[in-house]
Symmetry: C2
Subunit: 421 residues, 2 copies
């Protein structure tokens, strides 16, 4: 039997309501196998923590605090936006990582992120082999954008989808109440610069019992102002009001985002604004209706208070599976969610090779968007509905959710050499 | 014993997560006293429904659907922004109301709204007396702005406060995770044009277990750009990040709202934007940090999914009390929440005369805002904390909250005369 080694775990890119549930799955599972995994070191602020030898000793956290990660949003160890490029271009970084892993007897690398980190994870597996200190590199999927291939869904997405679907329903009830004499149009801006998965979730606000007019602006559909205004006009004539969900990635045929409105402030500086006010003002100019608009921004991806139970379970299960795959000797792989059926939603854990995951972006399929380009089809609804199923409320104290803040004590440095990031 | 009469109930102004809980309290209580209150007629779209003789027959709604109002946000009968002015100025409207009430044998008027509707309610009581068809007019308080006097709190506010406190905490955890290499500043814009109660709730994101830097911009405090930038700089130096909660009513010393940024679009039109992007860009210009911003808008007042249990209970209790006061012969009054103690929060129902309520706006007291003008004091915390206590989750189906849409069948018209609104 191979000697026990340490594991390294890091969170990468934008955090989510459930990335800590994956961390919880990794750490709790590793703690059951101390014969093979001595300790889990976490990177403080993601991969930067490895590059700067700033490791967190997770063994100093109580079982209770680790369990509380399951219901705590954000990245408990800190995340970062730091992209490693090709093996040649970023050679110094890759070599530094292997050097650190060697110094701290790290044999397992768990990287919790999106497409870029899947690529990094893959490269670390390759270079460690070449450098004669083989690391088993396992990618744990995470991204609210839901754009990773092969897996049925990416943890983080289901909870954002639930938040956006519920928020759109609630705000629609509100506008409907006010529409007779006041606001007739409500615009909600959501995340998703390239893929319209989150915007699509706004469509779930309507169902058989909730006849709500929702017009969606997807990044996958080139914006057609006339068609859009006509659609909104038609909905207002029929319902008296209209809700609009606009993706931050919605854009004109020339690729320019709706949010880039060319406005200047009093000093002539280009003004940054959202897509929502642009769309709202456009409707006002064309149809004259009073509007309200909201930009959900971080609220949507941090909303652990209304996380999808399915999402939390999957996030945990993927963290757990990553450790089990490492223990089984797997390398350069990513555990996936495999959908077996829609209704009831049955899923189990599959496995993808990282070479098939890296640099592939999963967009909304054409058959998920209605022909007019402004709504979701039944096929899309069948896909989305199970992902928001179930509630998984965090504990509360004094009316507020009780989230955990870990101690995050450092591992003693061994190399103690500077590394410029 | 007086002969039984009908009651009229209407929702007024901006709706909330719990105004329907008050409607539920009114209707369920009235249904227990059919010897005195034959039926509750609701105004379709508020007082406009009375003026146009568009009444809703609530007796046609099932007990189950009326009970479901307790967990349904928005205004189930429709609301409106339609202000009746003085008795002389709006004489035609007041006389029309009495005419309608007379035709439909309405002896009780329950008006569910804010300051303006308290005033209307008071005037209806006065004019009905004068016109020889006395109506018992009872005001049921409602406003997310929490600016009504005498009552400890206004239903609707506690749930917005809970939503803003939780959202600020969740987003702060998120920014904290990203701050090392990316976003260091998060700005959340909240409602409250005149009073900073909602903004104050953002301060609850931090507590003894959650050391979160929250800088609040109140409408009660004239904006001082240098002091603000210094405060944010100080927080970022100490914490690595900063959360900012800005009231839509935050303004410069000359009274100009921060949101009025004087920007022009490509066509030279004045551009409407929020206060959040203005504040975010201001910090970016001064300190250079990457930011994110959100505008909660309707999401905050419609967020029944995370309503405060205290708020729901109080909203219901006030609706119930309004009917009981009517049955006891009271007139031109408003049931209030009387706070008996902070911890544990003990409250009961009191009563205010409408002449003391109308046209009085309750602002944040000076001792609730810290000396630097950017935070909340312990006194404020003692006031706010009980109001967000407890969760009151709605039922869910397929991952979505199950809100009720009533049948809202009309009452047959008796007068059937046109009235121009």
């Amino acid at each position: 039997m191979a000697a026990a080694k340490n594991a390294f775990y890091a969170q990468s890119g934008g955090v989510t309501a459930v990335i800590n549930a994956s961390a919880c799955g990794v750490i709790e599972t590793a703690r059951k196998h101390t014969d093979k995994i001595t300790n889990v070191y976490a990177g403080r602020n993601g991969i930067i923590g490895a590059l700067t030898e700033d490791l967190i000793d997770t063994s100093l956290e109580s079982a209770e605090d680790i369990a509380a990660l399951r219901h705590t949003p954000s990245g408990a160890f800190g995340s970062c936006r730091y992209k490693l490029k090709g093996l040649e271009e970023s050679k110094a970084e890759y070599e530094r990582l292997i050097e650190i892993f060697k110094a701290h007897n790290i044999g397992y690398f768990f990287y919790n992120g999106g497409g870029d980190s899947a690529d990094t994870c893959h490269k670390i597996s390759q270079i460690s082999e070449k450098m004669g200190f083989p690391i088993q590199a396992i990618h744990v999927p995470k991204t609210v954008d839901n754009d990773l291939p092969i897996t049925d869904v990416c943890p983080g997405f289901g909870s954002v989808a639930k938040y956006i679907a519920i928020s759109t329903r609630e705000a629609s009830y509100d506008v409907n109440s006010m529409a007779k004499t006041s606001t007739k149009v409500f615009v909600l801006e959501v995340m998703g610069r390239h893929a319209g998965w989150i915007a699509a979730a706004g469509g779930l606000a309507a169902d058989a019992d909730n006849d709500i007019p929702v017009v969606i602006l997807f990044p996958e559909v080139e914006f057609n102002q006339d068609a859009f205004i006509n659609k909104v006009k038609e909905k207002i004539e029929q319902y008296g009001y209209c809700s609009i969900v606009v993706s931050e990635g919605a854009h004109w045929p020339d690729g320019k985002f709706l949010a880039e409105q060319g406005t200047r402030d009093a000093f002539g500086h280009a003004q940054l604004g959202g897509a929502a006010p642009v769309v709202a003002n456009m409707v006002k100019d064309a149809l004259g209706h009073k509007f309200h608009w909201a930009v959900a921004d971080y609220l949507q991806r941090a909303a652990r208070h209304i996380a999808s139970k399915t999402d939390v379970e999957q996030a945990y299960a993927l963290g757990k599976a990553a450790v089990e795959m490492a223990l089984a000797g797997d390398n350069a792989v990513m555990p996936t969610i495999d959908r077996k059926s829609d209704l009831p939603y049955v899923w189990d854990i599959g496995q993808a090779n990282l070479e098939d995951v890296a640099n592939v972006e999963k967009m909304m399929p054409k058959e998920f968007i209605t022909e007019d380009g402004f709504g979701i089809t039944d096929a899309c609804r069948r896909y989305l509905t199970p992902l928001i199923e179930g509630e998984d409320y965090p504990p509360y104290e004094n009316g507020m959710p009780k989230y955990v803040t870990l101690k995050n004590n450092p591992v003693a440095k061994i190399l103690n050499t500077e590394f410029e990031i």
